[in-house]
């Protein structure tokens, strides 16, 4: 090893590496510094194993040692140490005897330090590796923990979501009205601020449906017309949807998102599905999470809606049915097997309760006659009936009509018969009267025979008159022409037929002095007078007076028929001219007399009125326009 001359510092002015040197002394080294042989300004480094020889004075310094010069920096020293491995440097100073000790210590320390440093380095490396390992492990643990937390959170979230949906379903099942559905949906979706309040469209018929929407907390329903075809897909921002809602609601609509509520009943025909709609301000990226969140809730909404619609339809059907049931003009009821009324419409009366016990097809209650129809209600064909639907049809009127038809036919037959008889009688009567007239000329006018023959002649003349009237009267079936005739004459011809009716009563017949020419069909006018007088007589039970007066009033001919019967109360007064109205017993009156009479009189340009107060008799007044004297 070559010698190096190093100028060493003195310990008075300690350079920066002095402390390092101090530490170096602690290093384990094969080299020791022998102070005994140190020139003044040099450090001689010797291997440790050579040290005893140096001490004994046997060792030369042939081996190169580092001479540390004063003025070296720490860097120089370090470099030197690296170059001369294991060399030790030291401050020689002024040859202080203790220096060797210091060098020795320093050397030792240096070696130790080296060793420690290596150890430290290794340890540090190992530590670093361990740390890395640790860190990896921690990451793993951390990662795992995070995952676990996440999944726990997620499952908690899922549970919460399921709970929420269950809660929602529960809420939906408790709804009774479609109107409550919208607030429930709104509560469910309150977190979606870009959705406006929900609108619900429920198709009802082919071309209309109900639109439900919220106004405040209230659900409003409007009937909407027009074709409405639902698609099975969620539809977003379709202009026609906005237009439809705008038309229905009468306000402009923005973008609309539309969800079909596919119900069990509409599975086959989705186009008839109800629709849930929202006006919205959603952006494209909001849409997916919303749709997935909503679709979970749509199914229960569909079910609830299905149920509500069904309930509503059932309710409405049952209401329709109830109304139909009640509006039927005939009594109808459902009776149990013991005849107890389970349900009955408003026309059903207590008197009908015995109807199941009767076996016939008709059932009579007081004056009224009902045709009975019974329909058994059974669970199956083999079972005995549980109950009966009993339907009563009021036959009274049709029975009465039938009897009226019979009556009219009878009258017409009698009329024909009367005509026939009158003809048959006319011939011999003509002979009787004519022969009497001949015989009268052949007998002395003052004799008894002449007088008797006169009686016969007069009697046969009367007979002829009656027969002529009868002929006129029975000509109802024949067309008679309207002709101008004296009303007095018509009345005069009619009254004899009423003898049997008027006979019991005092009568007061007063015809006007002047003729009352009216343009009528005489036999119809006769029927009018006949009806009025006959009615008046029938109205009076025992005693009374019947008055028939004719007079002229300006341009009218008047005929009044007055009786002293019980009169007609105001309520009946309105009805007496109605066809088929009668107060008479069945078979006695047709209820047509007054109504036909009024028809006839009106047909001739006049009118028929009645004045009456209860208890004061009645006046029927015929008014006919007078014809100018012929």
């Amino acid at each position: 090893m070559e010698r190096k001359t190093i100028e060493l510092f003195t310990h008075q002015g300690a350079p920066a590496w002095w402390t390092e040197l101090q530490e170096l002394n602690s290093l384990d080294s094969e080299w020791v510094v022998s102070p005994d042989f140190l020139p003044r300004a040099s450090v001689i480094m010797i291997p440790r194993e050579e040290l005893p020889r140096v001490r004994r004075g046997e060792l030369s310094f042939s081996k190169a040692y580092i001479i540390v010069d004063h003025g070296w920096t720490g860097q120089n020293l370090k470099r030197a140490l690296q170059t001369v491995k294991g060399a030790l440097f030291m401050d020689v100073g002024d040859g202080v005897p203790e220096l060797s000790k210091v060098v020795q210590v320093a050397l030792t320390r240096q070696l130790e330090k080296d060793r420690n440093s290596r150890l430290m380095q290794t340890t540090r490396l190992q530590n670093r590796q361990i740390e890395e390992l640790n860190r990896g492990l921690e990451q793993v643990v951390l990662d795992r923990t995070v995952n676990e937390t996440d999944s726990r959170k997620a499952s908690q979230k899922n549970v919460a979501k399921v709970r929420e949906i269950i809660g929602f379903i529960k809420e939906l099942t408790q709804l009774f009205d479609i109107a409550d559905l919208l607030p429930a949906i709104r509560r469910q979706l309150k977190e979606y601020h870009s959705l406006d309040t929900p609108l619900l469209f429920v198709p009802r018929g082919e071309a209309f449906g109900d639109l439900y929407y919220l106004r405040g907390s209230q659900t409003i329903r409007t009937r909407v017309r027009g074709e409405w075809v639902a698609s099975p897909r969620i539809r977003v921002n379709e202009p026609s949807d906005s237009l439809f809602l705008a038309n229905a609601m009468g306000r402009p609509f923005g973008k609309v998102i539309r969800f079909p509520l596919v119900t069990v009943r509409h599975q086959k025909d989705v186009s008839r599905s109800p629709l849930l709609m929202f006006e919205h301000r959603l952006t494209a990226k909001d849409l997916d999470p919303l749709v997935s969140a909503l679709s979970e809730k749509l199914q229960p909404v569909s079910w609830a809606l299905d149920r509500l619609v069904l309930e509503q339809e059932l309710k409405s059907a049952s209401r329709d049915w109830e109304m139909t049931f009640d509006e039927l003009s005939e009594p109808i009821a459902i009776l149990d097997h013991d005849g107890r009324v389970l349900r009955a419409n408003s026309h059903w009366r207590d008197e009908f309760k015995g109807v199941l016990q009767t076996s016939g097809d008709t059932f009579r209650v007081g004056q009224r006659l009902y045709a009975v129809e019974r329909y058994p209600i059974r669970m199956s064909l083999e079972d005995p009936p549980l109950s009966w639907v009993v339907y009563l049809r009021d036959e009274t009127r049709s029975q009465r009509l039938k009897s009226q038809v019979v009556q009219v036919e009878k009258m017409s037959a009698i009329g024909h018969l009367a005509g026939h008889i009158a003809h048959k009688l006319n011939n011999p009567l003509t002979g009787i009267r004519s022969l009497t007239q001949v015989l009268l000329t052949e007998t002395p006018p003052d004799g008894q025979v002449h007088q008797d023959l006169s009686e016969v002649e007069r009697a046969s003349a009367r007979c002829q008159g009656i027969i002529n009237n009868l002929l006129d009267f029975s000509k109802g079936g024949l067309e008679q022409k309207v002709q101008v005739m004296d009303l007095n004459e018509i009345a005069r011809k009619t009254l004899p037929f009423l003898k049997s009716a008027t006979g019991r009563f005092r009568s007061d017949i007063q015809f006007s002095q002047e003729e009352l020419p009216v343009k009528v069909e005489p036999h119809l006018m006769q029927q009018v007078i006949f009806n009025l007088v006959n009615n008046a007589c029938q109205a009076m039970s025992e005693k009374g007076e019947i008055a028939v007066h004719t007079r002229r009033n300006k341009s009218w001919a008047l005929l009044e028929v007055r009786d002293t019967g019980p009169g007609i109360n105001a309520e009946l007064l309105e009805k007496i001219f109605e066809p088929f109205f009668t107060t008479k017993k069945e078979g006695e009156g047709t209820g047509l007399g007054l109504s036909l009479s009024r028809d006839f009189v009106r047909q001739f340009g006049g009118d028929l009125e009645c004045e009456s107060n209860q208890g004061e008799g009645a006046v029927f007044r015929v008014r006919l326009p007078l014809e100018a004297d012929a």
Binding site: G431, R433, S434
Partner: protein, 121 residues
């Protein structure tokens, strides 16, 4: 004047015959249309009172089948109790000259009507 009364009602025939005879006329009777034609042919009446409704042959039917030669200038008065069916116009269409509805008010008036009809010609 020779008068034939054709009517199925005996009393009508009798009364007319008596009234006519009383006024100086010769009267023959027939009880239905068929015998009326025979009497017409054999009697050659100036005036015939003819009823409408009669058995076998009615008055109008008689007029339809009566030969014009037989009828000649004979005046015919058609009588009916069934006034609805016939009137003067229809009677004239059948070849009769007058229509009288039955019943009569006065049999002598009928006689005078017949006389007048014959006189006017």
């Amino acid at each position: 004047m020779k008068v034939l009364v054709v009517d199925d009602e005996p009393l009508v025939r009798l009364s007319l015959r008596r009234a006519l005879a009383k006024c100086g006329h010769t009267v023959e009777e027939a009880e239905d249309g068929q015998s009326g034609i025979e009497k017409w042919k054999s009697f050659s009446p100036d005036l015939v009172f003819l009823d409408v409704l009669m058995p076998r042959l009615s008055g109008p039917d008689l007029l339809r089948v009566l030969p014009a030669a037989t009828k000649g200038a004979t005046k015919v008065v058609l009588m009916s109790a069934f006034t609805g069916e016939y009137d003067l116009e229809k009677a004239k269409a059948l070849g009769a000259h007058l229509f009288i509805p039955k019943p009569f008010e006065d049999v002598f008036a009928i006689v005078r009507v017949g006389e007048e009809l014959f006189r006017v010609g």
